[in-house]
Symmetry: C2
Subunit: 371 residues, 2 copies
């Protein structure tokens, strides 16, 4: 029997092959006599798992050597505090500029106020977060320690398809991106990024692992009130084992990385293959929505997310029937975020094109049979 | 084939039945069509898992109704900051008193200096952390926001077999206990505790979940610099879902709680049964060590840990041979912590008496056959 298609925004579907391998190794990893959950993080077995995961991630995302990869805890929401705790003091003014394109960047800006002079440099709130403000108009400050944006807004479905070139905008501050729901769906232009962070529970693995990729010169500036466990310098110096890391989550992330490396799409492999697939998946759903009379996605076409596609039914009284029918067809977790309502289909790497086709087929049937 | 016996101090052995159930449910939890890792934390399925885990824990530990149970992230080490971030301001002086009986309480005292007037009220450092200073001599301050101790020192093997009655000592401050390596091995006297915290990776489940049990009146006093994700008030108000919780870890903890509830030892069940078993396991190993010529445990008998039993070989040149022979017999992860050397046998709930007997048998053979 085929598994249902799971469109959750996160924690989200995992590749079936990854889950099968994890189940098979649950009681005994590679003849060690221990499951991965039962291993000391200081032992050779787990250290090899963690090192391999980092190496595979570096390869997949082409992380430059002058960036450190950290596996942390707390998710994107904790990083909203941990980033300013570590980077606010890069310049004496502790100024931080935020480009707000949805709920997540809005939360990030709010939380940073605790640690310095956080200010919104641009916001898409007037349009209900359906477009990205033109970078030429961003109010960036010369004394800012960093500029923050969320490269894909999971709730509003707004994605940066190109990261801004801050230097070309006359800004020498490093760019911080929250790529929780974008990571590994496409390549990253590291020449434009100082720090990227993301919760694992979309495209990486189980909730409880946070990925931080940070340029070395940004490490070592933590405020005195930064908890040691979240001080990037201590985490980096201890290879993500300053405190006991979320070992099983790192293992699952590592299995996902190996699965990703093995993916092929024509001549492409790894993240490039995933990007090609993700473009095709998103196009299939957006094209159908735009051609329908019942469904609508409000986001400007140039910044529509490939990962999270929110859509409304023009007749909202049919929402419950839509969800019940989807569930009956094995199309799961399509309910939209409470703050925007309607539906949301998240098309992370683990979602095959066939799943999107099944969704579109159902949506067409549902539209045609409305009485 | 029997599984090897795994004596890791943490992440540590899990009950085999729990691992088997987790493996069986990896791709499909209770017919939902999703593995637990793939579920939205906002959905009915995961909420039921989380609520059941909390209810079972409350029953197992007899947590009073005026205490909140929080599932957090960061482990004990992060709580070394999170506790003072939340409790230092209980009184204006932000004074915090620490009873230091080993590495962990020492780290806690050091970290708290960032957030107020942290002071060591008593320390066992002069004796190399082999005994607990008499409570009558603790230098407790009248203006202290709280008093902190580690109820079981995982590295030094020093355990409080009775928690201090601070009120009887003339102190009205709440007692904070780090019970990372003691939790669920025995009952807790909540009348003497204001807050208890612990990393999951010893007696609860996989690393990456932190358990906090906190009296309600201690919630709501966070310092302005406390990250929202670690503000007990926000975590409590949102039933541990202010940020995405470590869902799979909570599920594994819940399976462990169900396993614990089903344990029987004579007329005893649950934690009382585990305590009886843990007393028997520890006695078996300590009695053997004390009667041997080769092995030594330096801790005073009245505060020897039931959970973590460090021991040295009087002939340290034989350490490597001891570990290699143990490994060959399926006795794993016995190497002591680097800071104290020698060996350490951790006898958490998942370790059966048969495992301790196998260890003692090996230790006897090894001693008798030394050339």
């Amino acid at each position: 029997m085929n598994r249902p298609y799971n469109f959750s925004a996160g924690p989200a579907a995992m590749p079936e092959a990854v889950l099968r391998q994890a189940a098979a190794e649950m009681l005994d990893w590679h003849g060690s006599g221990m499951g991965v959950m039962e291993m000391s993080h200081r032992g050779k077995a787990f250290i090899s798992i963690c090192e391999q995961a980092e190496a595979d991630l570096r390869e997949l995302l082409a992380v430059p050597p002058n960036f450190r990869v950290l596996f942390m805890q707390g998710g994107g929401l904790a990083e909203n505090a941990i980033v300013p705790l570590n980077l606010a003091a890069l310049k004496p003014a502790r100024a931080m500029d935020f480009v707000v394109t949805g709920s997540w960047s809005q939360k990030s800006a709010k939380e940073a106020e605790k640690y310095g002079d956080a200010r919104v440099a641009a916001t898409g709130s007037d349009g209900g977060f359906t477009s990205i403000p033109d970078a030429q108009g961003w109010q960036l400050r010369a004394n800012a320690s960093y500029v923050h944006l969320c490269s894909n807004e999971t709730i509003h479905g707004v994605e940066f398809h190109q990261l801004p070139d801050l230097a070309a905008l006359g800004c020498d501050a490093p760019l911080v991106i929250d790529f929780s729901s974008q990571v590994l769906s496409r390549p990253v232009d590291w020449s434009r990024v100082g720090l990227a962070f993301g919760g694992a529970q979309k495209n990486i693995g189980p909730a409880g692992v946070t990925l931080v990729v940070v340029r070395e010169d940004l490490i070592g500036h933590a405020l005195p009130v930064c908890p040691s466990a979240f001080d990037y310098r201590l985490v980096a110096e201890n290879h993500s084992m300053y405190n006991t890391p979320p070992t099983y989550g790192i293992y699952m992330a590592g299995l996902t990385f190996q699965w990703l490396k093995a993916q092929r799409e024509g001549d492409l492999s790894g993240v490039a293959a995933m990007e090609a697939r993700n473009i095709a998946k998103a196009r299939l759903l957006y094209d159908f929505i735009d051609g329908s009379q019942l469904y609508v996605n409000p986001v400007a076409p140039d910044c529509r997310s490939r990962m999270n596609i929110p859509f409304l039914l023009r007749d909202e009284s049919r929402n419950d029937a839509f969800l019940a029918g989807a569930q009956a067809r094995g199309l799961l977790q399509l309910k939209g975020h409470k703050s925007v309502g309607g539906m949301r289909a998240s098309l992370y790497n683990a979602m095959p094109l066939e799943g999107v086709q099944a969704l579109v087929d159902y949506m067409r049937d549902f539209e045609q049979h409305q009485a």
